[in-house]
Structure formats: structure tokens, C-alpha cells
Amino acid sequence: MPLSADDIKKVASLARLAMPEAEINAAHAQLTGIFGLIAEMQAVDTSGVEPMSHAQDITQRLREDKVTETNQRVAFQAIAPQVEQGLYLVPQVIE
């Protein structure tokens, strides 16, 4: 499945990465090289093999649904790019 320059634009958009036209060709060439390496996987017969998502096939631990953290709103908002009255500010999304 060779990547096209259009794929690069689409993926950049899905990943929320602004990509100027000038960078698309370079990104296309590098990703094509990397997917050339990745293509080595396709020669392997994996029929009947279960996917492995965790290093030890351990089921995730559950915990009681209770509050464990203290409120650190002030500390967290002190490092935010833009806050007002305890809220995080972003460009207006609703007209």
C-alpha cells in the first residue's frame, strides 16, 4: 500500500499537525522509507496467533470507585497558557 502525498495531508490533519505544503514532500519521502521497513511484517504467517497488547498478558487491575486525589485546581491552572475565573480559555467554538 504505497503512501500518497494526499495520505500525508489527511494523516497530518487527523493528527492535528499543521503541515505547510513545502514540508509534505519531505515527510512523504521519509514515511515511505519507514513503511518500506514496516512492510517486512507482511511476509510473516500469523494465522491463529493472538495479538499481544501487554507485556505479560495480565488483565488490568480494577479499583474501588472513590476519590483518591486532592483538589489541585489552583496549581494546575497556574501552568496553563490562558485561564480566566478558574476556566481554561480557548478560541470561541459556539457562535
Binding site: 493528527a15 492535528r16 519507514i34 500469523t46 501487554h54 505479560q56 494546575f76
Partner: protein, 484 residues
């Protein structure tokens, strides 16, 4: 003092031969002197370090000190440390002063260790040369025209240059072992789940693991004793009894069965590295070990599998950096989507963006089965190879890296070449096994070579024993770079 082991420093501190404040000042002076050249640290905060040292001195005076109380350590800048700038090597976090401590940092604080500063690293731990850091590359103390390896390159250089007594690293595909090898120090990546990932900035969550980097196996054991432990806040942290990782250090090696994977000694391995590894194996035979050839037939697929799985997990983990709650926000933008896109495009470096793109692609509709699921299936085959191998041997040995440290800029424009420098380390992460690297000689241009020791699950104490016995019989680990 600079060449004393952690145990010797501990004894001297407890005997009041010198104070933690004096020892900390000694290291701070070295950092001030050497860091302008080596760039091993991103941030130091002498007042904070010295205040910690004075607290440690009070504790030492009361007589209830622990093994690492008062000992100055460096922390990789991937660990959140309260009040410390925590950048993860990225412009994205250039202004992120962490409001909380990672579990690993809490453990060191409880032990009374001193934090000397935060070490440089590849951006978001993505790299094998430290050249992707927004804060500039780290230089290898053995030859400052060469890379220290990565991603824990700042840690490796700071240990090699005696700019700290020991330090932490993290290893997703070789990021502790490869820089340890290239800088001539010892490093251990524990079994996945032994050290908590809480507060360790996530790259690929199913592979990331913290571990110690130090000058000897004995020092690694003392470090791991503090770092390891169950933590409820990491859902993959393992509930196991507390271990003393130094308990087996003195055991003789007679009868140890070493497996040598034939795939690790095939084409692609530098002749100079091969020679040093063969000499190390000969030394182990003298120490009473036997050698058996094993095969890890699927290990050659570990690089392609890794470059599907790690970017997939990274693309998800790094979606949190959006310029809203912390970190970098672009100075100019239009609507919300534009703010996200510009903040991320400007805040992330080229390699991080490349991996986010790969990950986004392999997880996207129509490609998920062909790439992501396929890679997870081969991951199982790679892990099963090790299960088979451990029926015939106790530990596996081979090279850590196919070459010694390469020149800064040498692999700059070719990501695939860079990725292949982790060919011997990645399979270990995919399987979740513990792995370490110890110095075992010098190769081309008189640069250090690392011997990789891979253990079975939870076999860290045995690996440390195997490494320690070698270090009692050889002196590679005590060699220092010129001028250090």
C-alpha cells in the same frame, strides 16, 4: 569521592566523613564546569539540591538514614518532579514546572536522596542519539564529536563524566541500554511493571519502563531497590513482594548457562563490537559459565513491529498536548482547530511529528488490521521465541548495539538507519523482559562497547549477580574518559 561506589558513599556519609551538602556541592561544581561542553543536564537548581542535602544531613545525624540518604542523583527529564522544570526534551514542555512528583521521584525523596537536576534526552524519548532534544544534543564524554546514544543520553553522559553518583533512565526500545553501552556505563531496564510509570511522561505505554543507570552492577542494585515497587496509580504496576536486588551479587557463576542468539552475531554486527563481546563470553567461561547457542528467529522483525506499535501508542499518548491546559501554545491562531494544529506543529520536533504521523496512519480506518493488529501478533511470536530460549539457558547475552558511538550528525537525515541502531534491544521491550548493558571493552576509535544481558521475567537479581561477578573479574567499568 567521585569514583566511590554508592555503598562506599553511604558508609562515608553515615560515618560523617563528609556531609551530603559537601558531596552535593562537589557534584554541582562539576556540573557547572562540564555541562557547558557536554550539555548533559537541561536544568539544575543548586539551591533546591542543597536544601535537600541539608535535610539529608539532619536525617543522617539522627541515625535513621537509608542506603541512598544524602547521595546526589540525576533524574532523566521525563520524570515529573514537583517544582522542577520537566521538559521531556521538548519545546512543547519548555515552560512546564511540574505540580507533582512521579512515583520514582517520590521513592527517591522517601529514601532521602538528593536531586541534582534533570538530564537531557531525545524529545519525548524518541531517538537513539540525543540529537532530537530541543535543548541541543548531548556530547559523549569519551569523544565530544560523538553521540552519547539515546534517549537517556544526558543520564549516560552525566554518569560517565562523574556529574552525578548515579541516575535514572527510561527504556522503551533500548533507551537505557544503548546509551549505557555507548558511554561505557551500566544500565538496567527491569521487567515491565516493576517500576511505576506514574508521572513518567508517556511515550509507548505498553513498552515504557524506568530503570537505573550507574557505574557498576552493585550500584544499579541499590538504585533499583529504591525505584521498584507497587503503585496503585499505574494500572500496569505489578503487585509483588519487595525484593532486595543486591541479595545474590556475591553468588559464584559456576553452572550458569548463557544463551547466545545466533541472530545477534550475524551480518550487521560491527567486527570491533563482536570481538569485545566474544572476549566477554570467554571471561564468563573462565568464571564457570557454559555457553549454548539459541535462536530468536523472529527477533529480526522487532524493528518493523516496534515502529508500528510504539508510534501507535505515542500518537494516542501525545494527543494530550494541545496547548490548552499546559505546555506550549502558538502565539497566533484562528479558531480552535487552528490553535491545536499550530501549537502542535510548532511545539513538537521533526522526529516526534514523524512518529505521530506513523501512529495515526496505522491506527486509521482501513489500515488497523494490516499494521497494528499484525504487529501485535508478531509481538507474540517474538515473545514466544524467548520462552523457548529460556528452556535451554539462564541468561541471554549479546551485543547491546551493532556499533560504538557514531558521529554527531552522521545519521541525521535517515530515520531508518537510526532505527536500526536499536536492533538488539527492541525485542526485549516487546517481550517485557528485563535487559541490561555493562561495559566490556573498547572498539573502533577507542569507544566503549556494551555487553547486553537479557534475563527471564523478574530475574533482575540474577542478572545483577551475573554482571557483578564479571565486574569483579574485569576493570572495564572503572575506566574513565580522558580528562574526567
Amino acid at each position: 569521592m567521585l569514583n566511590s561506589s554508592l555503598a562506599q558513599l553511604g558508609v562515608a556519609l553515615r560515618a560523617k566523613k563528609f556531609s551530603s551538602a559537601e558531596l552535593t556541592q562537589l557534584y554541582l561544581d562539576r556540573i557547572a564546569k562540564l555541562n557547558p561542553c557536554l550539555n548533559a543536564y537541561i536544568s539544575v537548581n543548586p539551591e533546591v539540591s542543597l536544601a535537600q542535602a541539608r535535610e539529608a544531613d539532619k536525617r543522617l545525624a539522627t541515625g535513621n538514614a537509608e542506603a541512598l540518604t544524602g547521595i546526589p542523583l540525576a533524574q532523566k527529564d521525563i520524570f515529573c518532579a514537583k517544582g522542577w522544570l520537566t521538559t521531556c526534551g521538548s519545546k512543547m514542555l519548555h515552560n512546564f514546572v511540574s505540580p507533582y512528583d512521579a512515583h520514582v521521584i517520590e521513592q527517591f525523596n522517601r529514601a532521602g536522596a538528593v536531586n541534582l537536576g534533570k538530564t537531557n534526552m531525545d524529545e519525548f524519548a524518541m531517538g537513539s542519539s540525543n540529537e532530537t532534544s530541543y535543548y541541543g544534543p548531548v556530547k559523549n564524554p569519551w569523544d565530544t564529536t560523538r553521540v552519547p546514544g539515546g534517549s537517556s543520553g544526558g543520564t549516560a553522559a552525566s554518569v560517565a563524566a562523574r556529574m552525578c553518583a548515579a541516575a535514572t533512565g527510561t527504556d522503551t526500545g533500548g533507551s537505557i541500554r544503548q546509551p549505557a553501552a555507548l558511554c561505557g556505563i551500566s544500565g538496567l531496564k527491569p521487567t515491565y511493571g516493576v517500576c511505576s510509570r506514574y508521572g513518567m511522561i508517556a511515550f509507548a505505554s505498553s513498552l515504557d519502563q524506568a530503570g537505573p543507570m550507574a557505574r557498576s552492577a552493585e550500584d544499579l542494585a541499590l538504585m533499583l531497590n529504591v525505584m521498584a515497587g507497587f503503585d496503585e496509580r499505574d494500572s500496569t504496576s505489578l503487585q509483588r513482594d519487595k525484593e532486595d536486588y543486591a541479595r545474590d551479587l556475591v553468588k559464584p557463576l559456576k553452572g550458569l548457562r548463557i544463551g547466545l542468539p545466533k541472530e545477534f552475531f550475524a551480518a550487521g554486527l560491527g567486527a570491533d563490537v563482536a570481538k569485545a563481546i566474544e572476549a566477554a563470553i570467554a571471561e564468563y567461561k573462565k568464571l564457570g559459565a557454559t555457553v549454548v547457542e539459541i535462536s530468536l528467529p523472529n527477533s529480526k522483525l522487532s524493528v518493523p513491529v516496534y515502529y508500528v506499535l510504539a508510534p501507535a501508542e505515542a500518537s494516542s499518548n501525545l494527543s494530550r498536548f494541545d496547548g490548552v491546559r499546559y505546555g506550549y501554545r502558538a502565539p497566533e491562531y484562528g479558531d480552535l482547530a487552528d490553535m491545536y494544529e499550530k501549537s502542535r506543529a510548532q511545539g513538537f520536533g521533526a522526529e516526534v511529528k514523524r512518529r505521530i504521523m506513523i501512529g495515526t496512519y496505522v491506527l486509521s480506518h482501513g489500515y488497523y488490521d494490516a499494521y497494528y493488529i499484525k504487529a501485535q501478533k508478531i509481538r507474540r511470536l517474538i515473545a514466544q521465541d524467548f520462552v523457548e530460549a529460556y528452556k535451554k539457558c539462564d541468561v541471554i547475552m549479546g551485543p547491546t548495539s551493532p556499533s560504538t558511538a557514531f558521529k554527531l550528525g552522521e545519521k541525521g537525515d535517515d530515520p531508518v538507519q537510526m532505527y536500526l541502531s536499536d536492533i538488539y534491544t527492541i525485542a526485549v521491550n516487546l517481550a517485557g523482559l528485563p535487559g541490561m548493558s555493562i561495559p566490556c571493552g573498547f572498539g573502533a576509535n577507542n569507544m566503549p562497547v556494551g555487553l547486553q544481558i537479557i534475563g527471564n521475567y523478574f530475574d533482575e537479581a540474577r542478572m545483577l549477580n551475573v554482571a557483578h561477578q564479571y565486574q569483579l573479574a574485569t576493570d572495564w567499568h572503572v575506566r574513565t574518559p580522558n580528562g574526567i
